[in-house]
Amino acid sequence: MSNPFPLEKDGLLEAYRRMKTIREFEERLHVDFGRGDIPGFVHLYAGEEAAGVGIMMHLQDHDRIASTHRGHGHCIAKGVDVKGMMAEIYGKATGSCAGKGGSMHIADLSKGMMGANGILGAGAPLVCGAALAAQKLGHDGVGITFFGDGASNQGTVLESMNLAAIWNLPAIFVVENNGYAESTSVDYAVASDSYVDRATGFGMPGITVDGTDFFAVYEAAGEVVKRAREGGGPTLLECKMIRFFGHFEGDAQTYRAPGENEDNRKNRDCLKIFRAKVTEAGVLTDAELNAIDAEVMTLIEDAVREAKAAPLPTPADLTTDVYVSY
Amino acid sequence: MSDLITPILMPKWGLSMREGTLAAWHVEEGTEISPGDEIMDVETDKIANVVEAADGGLLRRRVGQAGEVYPVRALLGVLAPAEVSDAEVDAYVDAFEMPQVEEDEDSGPAHDYADLPIGRIRYTTREGEGVPILLIHGFGGDLDNWLFNIDALAEKAPVHALDLPGHGQSVKAVDNPGLGTMVDAVVQLMDHLNIEKAHLVGHSMGGLVSGQVAIDHPGRVASLTLICSAGLGEEINSGYIDGFVGAASRKELKPVLKDLFADQSLVSRAMVDDLLKYKRLDGVQGFLEALRGNLFVAGRQAAGIVAGLAGFSGPVQVIWGAGDAVIPQAHANAIPGASVTVIEGAGHMVQMEGSSRVNDLIRDQI
């Protein structure tokens, strides 16, 4: 039967591989964090895979993204080396940031990943800068900043939207609305108007998509990225989604309604929704997807094993990389 | 009677000097002074040096006090024959109005710029009669190296001093820095100033350049004065060259400059700062490295003028500072038939440390 989807078969497989890698990466971290293997604290992206991958599938290395403190998913979706990320989270010298950044600061500028960020909304102006650089250097790169529904109240985000609008920057503001700013329900925190209205207020279009449906995100993001590349200026893309785990690992999530997590896992798991659609349409088979699952599990297993075995940074590393020259 | 009285004035060394400190007297009142005698030490913020009497006569009064600061051309002493009465000397001193420290005394355009094929070249000129003298500085130097010579020589002939390409305020972006470009610049400047023939005076690398000009364009050179000149042998203190080119800060540069002088105290802070300011101009570092690559190979001088000068018919004289720590003094005798003078108590910058002796030698030659 012909392929009804907007991606070729290998595109669908690649999308699934990235989503599955994110899911297993985060699930494994949830377990290992529980055992106390991982220093510091982590924020897990499980449940939001379709949004990250649905957008990143349209991007190349010269497109820049700035992520949040919950950045593992964005990194994997953008092509950052998974083993390097795991080593980083274990604070090892072979980590993507030589063990100096940690979960909230993983980055790979060669992949256009400007870094996860521990400061809410701080990525917004940085991405405006990336978009400005693309304009000035004459390439069609776009800049995408991700922030949560809570962070949308940060002044720096609102200022950046205005900046992007008046300079017509190829910048895209992605609100990952998982309904909770840390533990505060969104309709308390957001002053009763929506992100789309705010974007419209700044003179840029805003749209909302169901973040649990990969194809809805993929098609919408495709149009938004195309518009930015062609000089159509900035856009706000709100992805309504759910996160399976707490704000941070160890969060008892008492703010959720009873049974909310179980319902999300059963009915709104974007991987299940994706798998159902592609197999029912007969384009991919369960066998093909299961093969990917197996490869991903091995990759994650290797990543953890190698991370645990990897060397720690040396004392000399303490004061290197502060400056280029000093 | 007063026309028999001769004043001793605060000298003016270089354009930017406004005032000087009379550091110490070397002679007492009542002594007979002849031209060239060392009569006092004067210090400026840029350089300190001994002042030699321009005129002879009986020193009747020491007006300047040691340690005091005086504007340029201020009255420091009075020479007068015995028959002039003290009263007349006093009247002369009182009548002498102390010149104000002028802000920017513009004795005509201090420096000129010639846009030559090789690029923009800065030069300075002192008018005069006869065949002109052309002063050519050395590696890393500029026309201010002739601070203590240019005015004295101007009494005998027109004098020009230039910044070679890549030096001073001349063009820095030079295609292939080397001896050839230096020679071209000198000849192009002579054409620009329509100088048919000139007495060339070259210091250190400037001597090499002068010699090469004499070899390539013998008709344009009236005489040659080679001061601590390169090109007369292979030895050179490559430590100085590498130290000078490599120095990036005041701390690295100051010790290197000590090689230039017999009297180490002459390396003033202002001299180090001026050289740093020059070395930090865009393009200079690259230029100096390329020039060094052209002139020196494996720590030895690559170019020589001794053989070439055999065919040069004009007079050649060689002057050296006995204490030259950059180019060995032995090279002075490399040119058969040239008159050689070695000046004691002076290092590589002999035209500064022994300026009056050098000026006399040049004046005698032309």
């Binding site: 940031c97 950044g101 600061h105 870094g115 991405v127 | 800060s249």
Partner: protein
């Protein structure tokens, strides 16, 4: 050729030459061009005090007027710096750092370290600092210690036009984030400035005046004030060495220690407020490194622990004057 130039014109010339040399150098700031979108002439202002006047017509593509949202455009400049541009963002007054400090000390300063040495952020943030302009507490602060405290930032505060041009060109060519602070009261000061571009390396203090009895370590407007004090003291037979730090991070402690070992006496002069100031930083280092060389307690001359007052009568007392500096020097001489 070298000609006398004001610090303001030296900055203008440095920016002009660097934007000509490198098209990726761009300027961003409030009203650095002025008149954007308005009916009047373009380049109406060229910066609030006209520092960038006349540059817009030569570099229209490289100068961007920004909305009044420092967090956005300073952050954008930092983001652009990691993506191939070399932005020079103007923060107008250093006192406005509060509204964009996160982008400076949490983002720009930390990218390289946090990302394991893989990021470079060649951004310059220019700002006016210093008192004496009757601009009162929110437009007259120094705040230099705050930026000097942050690892990952370089801090420059020149005292004369020659140094300003060389240090600004170095800042633009530097591959680390640089906070470049220009003292408002020095904008009109003049000295010889070569027309050709040149760069002065960071971390090299300048000995503004050689002396043997007492060492004064200072920067910015306090350099001319210290030189004035030195002239007065010379008549009293006290020979003062004045060291102009020029860059506060990196800081040239070698030159300071060398001078103190020579004179045995140290006076640190700093227009910033006393607590955790540059003066206290230098004093602590010297006490630790050259204690034996000290013949007298280290003296510090700073602004008082108070905001900058408006009234001229008070502001003149606020700024360390040549007399207060001279008094401190005499104290170290045991007077």
């Amino acid at each position: 050729m070298a000609r006398t130039l004001s610090m303001k014109d030296a900055i203008n010339e440095a920016l002009d030459q660097e934007m000509t040399r490198d098209p990726t150098v761009i300027m961003m700031g409030e009203d650095i061009v002025g008149g954007a979108g308005a009916a009047g002439e373009d380049d109406a202002w060229g910066g609030v005090l006209g520092v960038s006047k006349g540059l817009y017509h030569k570099h229209p593509k490289q100068m961007i007027d920004t909305p009044l949202s420092e967090s956005a455009y300073v952050g954008a400049a930092i983001g652009a710096a990691t993506c191939g541009l070399r932005p020079v963002a103007e923060l107008m007054f250093i006192d406005f750092m509060g509204v964009c400090l996160d982008q400076i000390y949490n983002q720009a300063a930390k990218f390289r370290y946090m990302f394991g040495g893989k990021a470079e952020t060649p951004v310059v943030i220019r700002a006016m600092c210093g008192a004496g302009f009757r601009a009162a507490a929110q437009h007259s602060q120094m705040l230099t210690p705050i930026f000097t405290h942050i690892p990952g930032l370089k801090v420059v505060c020149p005292s004369n036009a020659y140094d300003t041009k060389g240090l600004l060109i170095q800042a633009i060519r530097d591959n680390d984030p640089v906070i470049f602070l220009e003292h408002k009261n020095l904008y009109a000061s003049e000295c010889d400035v070569p027309e050709e571009p040149y760069a002065i390396p960071f971390g090299e203090a300048n000995i503004a005046r050689e002396g043997s009895n007492v060492t004064i370590v200072t920067y910015g407007l306090m350099v001319p004030n210290s030189l004035a004090a030195a002239e007065t003291l010379k008549k009293e037979g006290i020979d003062v060495e004045v060291i102009d730090l020029r860059t506060l991070s990196p800081i040239d402690m070698d030159t300071v220690i060398e001078s103190v070992e020579n004179t045995g006496r140290l006076v640190c002069v700093d227009e910033a407020n006393p607590r955790c100031s540059i003066a206290s930083d230098v004093s602590a280092s010297v006490a630790q490194e050259a204690f034996k060389a000290l013949k007298a307690p280290i003296a510090m001359v700073t602004a008082p622990h108070a905001p900058v007052p408006f009234s001229p009568a008070l502001e003149d007392l606020y700024i360390p004057s040549p007399d207060r500096i001279a008094a401190a020097v005499r104290k170290t001489m045991g007077a």
